[in-house]
């Protein structure tokens, strides 16, 4: 393992109008590591992810990928960077106008690296790797259950062979068994491909399963980072409250303040 972090955030700041969402986020993710960011709703988890992906532009701060500053990248350089990323969206975000296989092969087809016949083969291979049978390939995303959509979303995220995969609430909205199936798939795919993974979630069973390291975000700041084994004795009252899901503690929900 090298010393350069795969992803390095320094003083990341983002606000929407007067509302500060990210205050100053510092985070390093090492190559091959599975980092999980935990935090309540509205704490800035998704915004952090979208800033790294370039979907949102931070007001200040630095985002380095493989040591390269990425905040100011545009056009061709941005596209080159984008190829390193794969993303599983919370609602899977499958293109409902396209059949499942074209969804999976979308990135490959868009870059014209392969013809349609080969792309279909690759898509079916990827479907198998997430435990779905080839006949799913011709269905439209609307015909799939939530769990299957997530798996197709995962297949799409890995089809381009990314170096970093982002998971946005991978188990939200699934039953506990399907959630575990998705967790298993994530571990399996991430380990097999040797990629770096950055997950945001508030599902603690998911954290305990897929994380190498855990970071807790609160009010737009990372307030605690440590290996998974340390989360039960972090000594941090915020982390304690969060992982045990208690209403009482230092984290006061907005509803209580009002």
């Amino acid at each position: 393992m090298t010393d350069t972090p795969k992803i390095s955030l320094k003083g990341l700041h983002k606000q929407f109008g007067p509302k500060v969402v990210l205050d100053s986020v510092d985070l390093d993710v090492m190559p091959g590591e599975s980092m999980v960011i935990i935090g309540g709703s509205g704490s800035g988890k998704s915004v952090t992810l979208k800033c790294i992906l370039g979907l949102l532009h931070p007001e200040s701060g630095s985002i380095k990928v493989d040591g390269e500053e990425t905040v100011s990248l545009r056009g061709r350089d941005r596209k080159r960077l984008q190829r390193k990323f794969g993303m599983l969206f919370q609602g899977a975000a499958l293109f409902d106008s396209l059949p499942v296989w074209e969804n999976i092969a979308f990135g490959l087809l868009a870059e014209r690296k392969v013809n349609r016949a080969d792309a279909k083969e690759i898509a079916i291979e990827n479907l198998r790797s997430v435990g779905l049978s080839p006949d799913v390939a011709l269905l439209s995303p609307a015909e799939l259950s939530g769990g299957m959509q997530k798996r197709v979303g995962l297949a799409r995220a890995i089809a381009n062979k990314p170096e970093i995969i982002f998971f946005d609430e991978p188990t939200t909205g699934l039953d506990p068994i399907m959630a575990d199936v998705i967790n298993e798939l994530i571990i399996e795919r991430v380990k097999e491909m040797g990629v770096t993974a950055l997950t945001i979630t508030h599902d603690m069973s998911s954290v305990r399963k897929i994380a190498d390291k855990v970071a807790m975000i609160y009010h737009g700041n990372i307030i605690w980072t440590g290996p998974r084994s340390d989360i039960d004795n972090s000594g941090n009252p915020y982390v304690e409250q969060f992982i045990h899901g208690k209403a009482e503690g230092p984290i006061q929900m907005e509803v209580l303040k009002a």
């Binding site: 993303m87 609602g91 868009a110 381009n160």
Partner: protein
């Protein structure tokens, strides 16, 4: 001085919207002329926008031409000018009613569906997903829609609207009002000038551009779930219709005011 503050806010939000639309339009246009081009999407859009709009455009024009013939005959008979019927029908349809009615119908049909589709893609994160798959949504979603509408409006829909509209007048005039068929056609063709046709097609292309621009713009910037998509759809249709009527006057002024 609350009243002044309101005026200020309205002016600012208008300027902001105008600026955003200007930037959107210029980005969209620049992406229409730079590779990569997605021909498959383009063909699909040309089919949906052009071919599938034919029945409704044809019916509208047929009945408009017919009603126009009845009106002119009745009105013209008050000062013995019934014989001007063929020339007024052809001028009325080709210069004005063909392109404008076709534009309004297509605005209702096409810009609503664009706004709803892109809006849903936005709120379900499909547009974000597209960016993470190294595909520019301006190239994949917006450029094909604008090119398809700007081409299909003049070269398919308005050509049909003009011909069928004149045909509607012809059918009523010869079938009901006692005009001689050959005579009617001669009068029509003699009176129609190339400039009328150019104006008709120019209007069609301009309307097509604004219909798709409004549909894409409002859809692309949809916010806030189902309600937001509903609002964008309404805004797309209303603004497209208003732009059609406004630019119709401007093009008419350019071509025929002397």
């Amino acid at each position: 001085m609350n009243f002044l503050a309101v005026i200020g806010r309205v002016v600012f939000s208008f300027l902001q919207a105008a600026g955003r639309l200007g930037i959107f339009a210029s980005t969209a246009v620049s992406h229409m002329f730079t590779p990569p081009f997605y021909f498959r999407s383009l063909l699909k859009q040309m089919m949906t926008i052009g071919y599938y709009s034919l029945p409704v455009v044809g019916l509208t024009s047929l009945f408009t031409g017919a009603a126009l013939a009845l009106n002119i005959f009745e009105g013209g008979s008050r000062f013995n000018a019934e014989s001007a019927l063929p020339s007024i029908v052809v001028i009325g349809i080709v210069r004005e009613l063909g392109p404008v009615l076709c534009g309004l119908i297509v605005a209702g049909r096409v810009s609503a569906s664009m706004a709803a589709e892109l809006g849903t893609m936005r709120v379900t994160e499909q547009i974000d997903a597209m960016v993470t798959l190294s595909t520019d949504p301006f190239k994949y979603l917006i450029a094909p829609r604008i090119i398809a509408t700007t081409l299909m409006m003049p070269f398919m829909l308005v050509v049909v609207a003009d011909s069928v509209g004149v045909m509607g007048g012809y059918l009523i005039a010869t079938g009901k009002l006692g005009f001689n068929s050959g005579n009617y056609m001669t009068l029509t063709m003699d009176f129609l000038e190339a400039m009328d046709v150019y104006a008709s097609l120019t209007k069609a292309a301009v309307f097509g551009f604004f219909i798709s621009l409004m549909g894409c713009y409002h859809g692309f910037y949809s916010r806030g779930g189902a309600q937001g998509v509903g609002v964008s759809t309404t805004n797309a249709v209303v603004s497209a219709c208003m732009l059609i009527l406004l630019t119709n006057y401007m093009v008419t002024e350019i071509f025929f005011a002397s």
